[in-house]
Amino acid sequence: MRADLQTLERIEAYLNGFMTSPEKEQFETELNNSNDLQTLLENQKLIQQAVARKAIMAQVHQFAPATISSISFWTKFKWPIILSSLLLVALVGFSFVDMSQTEKENNREVEKHEVVELENGKQEKKEEQAIPEQSVSTISSDSVCETAEARQNINSIQVEPPVVHSIDKGVFQGIGLSFNEKEIIHSNDVGGLKTWITPKKQIFTINPNQSNTIECENGTVIIVPKNAFCTKNGDNITNSVDLEIVEALTMADMIAYNLTTMNDDKALKSGGMLYIQPLVNGEKVSIKSDRPMHIEVPTNKVVPDMVAWKGEVNAKGDINWVEPKNLEKFLVPVAFNTLDLKPNGFSNAVEAGLPFKTYTKSSPQLIDSLYYSLSGLTSQVSEVGNDFSGKGKFMPVKVNTQLNNPSNFKPRRGDGSFRRDFITVMKVINISAQDLAQSTIEVQGNKEGDFCEFYIQDNSIYIYKKASKNGLHSISIQTKCSEKEVFTNIPITISGRHRSGEIEYAGPSCKACFLDPIGIKTVISNPFENTFISTKEFETRLKELHTIPEAQKYYNLYITNLTKNLYEVDQIVADQLSDDKKSIFQTFADQKLTNVDNDNINQDAIKAYYNASRAMYQKEVQRTNEAYRTANEKDLKELQSKLQNVETNYADEKAVLASNTSQKSFSFPSISLGFNKNISIPKLGVSNSESYKVAWNSTGWMNIDCYLHLLGKNDVIVAINPQEKDSDVKVYQCINVLKTVIPLAEVEGKMEAHFPEKGKEGSMEMKDTYCVGIHKEKEQLYYSEKQYNPYSENEIQLNWNPVTERELYNKLVQLSPINDVLAKSLKEEIHKITLEQEYRNEKKQLETEIQNLQNRIAKENAFIQSLIDKINPCDPDFCDENRFIHYEVKMEQ
C-alpha cells in the first residue's frame, strides 16, 4: 500500500469536511471497496490525533507548576537569620575581629547553621558574651588594613580606624533596580544613612496575605510569612507591600554605603549587611514581632560566634551597631527530599544488587521504595508513647489442667515434633511453675497452611513454625483461650524480627536491632516538615542512629520531643548511650542546637498522626510484601501446575494412543483380517455383485466403482495360490490406481485378482502391483508378500513366514502408502513420537522456568537480605534464623 500524495490529499479533505457531496459519496464508495484506503484513513486519523496530543502534552509540560526548588537556598554556607521587627538596617553576623583562632577550632562546625535573631529591645543584651574590643589591631591582613585605611579616609567621622574584615570574597555585582539617585543619597531612604554612592536598592512587591520567598541579587534569601506586616497602630496590612532591600555583602558595598562596622568604639567583623524596609504606598510599615522574616545571607565560609546587630544611624548619617544578639542556634527545616534518612551504604547495596525484578537502574524512588518495603520484614512497630524497649504486646495464654507436669509433656505429632524444615521460634513466657504445669498453649498461624507447633520441655517452651520454601513468610502467633481456663491473661513477651520472612520470636538476645523504615517513612510528611526532623542536623543524627543497635527508642525520643530543643534531646540520648556512641551524641548536645522556627508545633496532633500513619504504612507494607510473596508463590504454583498439566495430558494422550495402537497396530487397524473380532471393514463378500462378475470386494463403493469401471470383458486375471488350504487365509490385492488394498475372495482354494485389459485405462498403473497374504494358525501369524506384473504372470504362489504381531505391522507399514489407513497408523506412530518429544521439551522448559523462578526468588531474597544487613547494626548471627533459640521460662516460685 502506498500513500500517494493525491490519496492523502483526498483523505484529508474527507476528514476535514472539504469535500463536496458527490466527492464524498465517491470517496465513501471507494472506501468501502478498499481495505488499503480504510487503513490509510485510520492511520491519518491517528496521526492527526497524535499530533494534537503532542501539542497538548507540550503545553502540559510548559504550564505545569515547577516542583518546589527552594532547597537551593539552604545550602550549608548560608546563614539564616530571623527578623522580627522593623529594622533600619539589619546586618548579619557581625562578630569581633581576630576570630582566626576560633575559626580553626570551629572548622568542624562549618556545617552548622548559625542563626541570629534580632528582636528589638525584647531580649536582654549579651555584650558580655565576647567583646575582644581592641584586639582588633592584631588583624594583620594587608588587604584588611588597606581597606580599613581607605575607609577611614572616606569616613572621617570614625573615631577609631575601623578594622573590617569581610569574609565574603564575592565581588559586588549588583544590578539593582532603578531608583532616583538624588532622593536616595539625601533622603532617609536607607534609614537615614549617608551613603557615598547610590545604594543598589531592590524593590519587591509582595502580597502580604501569603508567604513570600524573595531571592535577592547577591543571594540573600528572605522569607516573609503571611500577614507579617502591620501599621504603626498594629493593624494587619492586606494591601500589597513593597519591600525595599539593599544588600551590602562585600567590603565595596559597605564602604560605598558608609556602613562602618563599629560598635561604639569597637570594630566588628562583618558577615554582610542588609537593609530592609517594607513600604505601603511609600509609607513605612512595621513587621509584626510574632511574624518574623527569615533571612539568609550567603557567605563562603561560616564563622562561629557571629552575632546580629541592629543598626542605628546618628544625626550625622553614620551608623553604629548596637544591641548585639547572641546566636541562638536555630535550625532550618529543609525539604525532605533533600535529606537522606537511610542508613549509609544502603543505596550502594541497592545498586550492587541490581537488576532486581524489572529494575535495572537504580533511582531514588527505587531505593526509597526498597528501603520502606523492608519495614514489614524487619521489625515490629512499637507505639510511640510506650517505653520503646522493643517489646511487643502482651498476649493472653490459656491454661487448662490437662497437663500435670511439664516433664510429662511429650511432643506428639501435631503437638510440635521437631523437624528439620521447621524454624524454631520462641516466646518467652513468664508463667508460674504451677501454671506451667497446667498449661497448654495453642499457637496459630495467620494464614491457611501456616502452622505453628510447640512443646514444653525443661522449663522452656519451644514453638516451631514451618518455613515456607521461598523464605518469604509472615505469621502472627496467637494464643487461644480454652473455655475452662483457670488463669487468663498470663503475659507473654514477644519481641523479635522478621528475617527474610521468617519471624523469630525471641527474648533479649534478638532485639529490635534497627530503625524501622516505616518510622522514617512516616515522618517524611507534612506534619514534620517544620520540625527539627526535616533538618540537615537531624539527618546527621539519624545516620548515627542507624549504626546503633536498638536505635528505635532513641529515634522515638526525637520524634516525641519535637518541641524540645534539639540539644536537649541529644542530651537525653547521650545519657542513655555509652562509649563512643555516647560521645558522638554528647558532641551533638554540646552544639546547643535549638529548634526550628517558633511555629506552634502541635505535638499531640503530630504524635497522633505519627502513630496512625505508622500503623497505616505498616499495613500497606505488609500487604505489599504479602502480595509480593503471593505473587512469587503464585508464579511457582502456576508453573508447577502447568508442568503437572503437561504431564497429565501427556499421560492421557499416551494412554489413548497406546490403546489405539494396541488395537490397531497389532490387529491391523486399517485392514480387516477376518479373524479379528474387532474387524468391521472390509467384509468379504459384502459387495459381491453378480452383474460385474468379479470377486473384488471393498468397502469404498466410490472407489470400487472407479476401479470396476476399468474392468471389462477382457480382464486380465491372475490366480493367486495361497498354498495353504487348512487355515484361514486372507489375501489382499493392492490396487495401485486407488492406492488401496482390497481383500480377494477365494474361488476353489485360489484367489483371483482382476486387472484391466492391457493398454486400457489404468493398466499402466497395474504393472507393478503386489498382493499381501496373512493367515493365522494356532495363534501364530504368517505373512506373505508378492510383487508381480499381472500382464506377464497369470499365477503366483505365496510363500509364508511366521511373524509376530509387531513384525507383521511393520511389514505392512513398510509397504509404503499403499493404503491410507496404513499411512494413518504410521502417522499416529509418528505423532506419538512427536508428542513425546514435545512433552519432553515442554517439560524441560517448564522445569527450567521453575528453576529460574526459584533462582530468581533466591536471588531476590539474598538481595533483600543484603539490604537488611545494611540497615541492621546487630550481629547477623544475632537473629540467625537457623539457630535454635530457646529461653528459659521464668519460674515464679
Binding site: N43, L46, I47, K54, A55, Q59, V60, Q365, T624
Partner: protein, 189 residues
Amino acid sequence: MTDRDLITAIQKGELEKPIQILYKEYPKIRLFLLKEGGTDEVIQEIFNDSLVLLIEKVSNPSFELTAKLSTYLTGINRFLLKNELRKKANHSFVSSDFQDNQMEDLPNFEYDFEKEEKLKVIDSILDTIQEKCKQILHFFYFEKRSMDFIAEKMGFSSVQSAKTQKYKCMEKAHQLANESFIHHENPIL
C-alpha cells in the same frame, strides 16, 4: 475558575490556566496512586497523560460534564495506573489485586486499548520525523493554520511547495506507521 470556565477555556484552546488549575489536583492524586501501587515516576507520567486525555475529551464540543472535572481526572488517573500495573503484571508482580471495575466512576470515558497503543507508536514516530515536518504538522493539525500561514511562517517559496512538503511529511509518517503496525501485529515478519 469553575469547571464550566475550565471547559470553555479548553475548548477555546487556552490551556495554560486549565493546566495550572488541574495540576493542583496532582498532590492529592499522587497520594492516592501511591497507595494503589504507583511509583512517583509512573504517577507523574500518568498524570500528564491523564491531562492530555482529559483535555482531548473536553476539547470535543460535544463533551458533557457529568462529574466534577477533578473527580473525572482522578478516575482517569486511577484507570491509567491500573492499566499500567496490569501491563507490567506480565513481568513483575502487582501489589494489589486488580479489579476491573475502574470504569464505573468514569462516565463517558472510552479507552480503546488498541488505539492507544497505536497512538503511542505514532507518537514516537513523530519524534523521529524531521523538525520541519513536525512544525508543519503542528501548525496544520493542531493550530489549524492555513497553508498560506504555514508557507509564510516557515519561509516556503510558495503555498504549493508548503503543501507538497506537508504531504511528503504525512507520506513519511504513514509509511513509518504502516511499517510499525505490520511489525507490531506480526512480530515474525
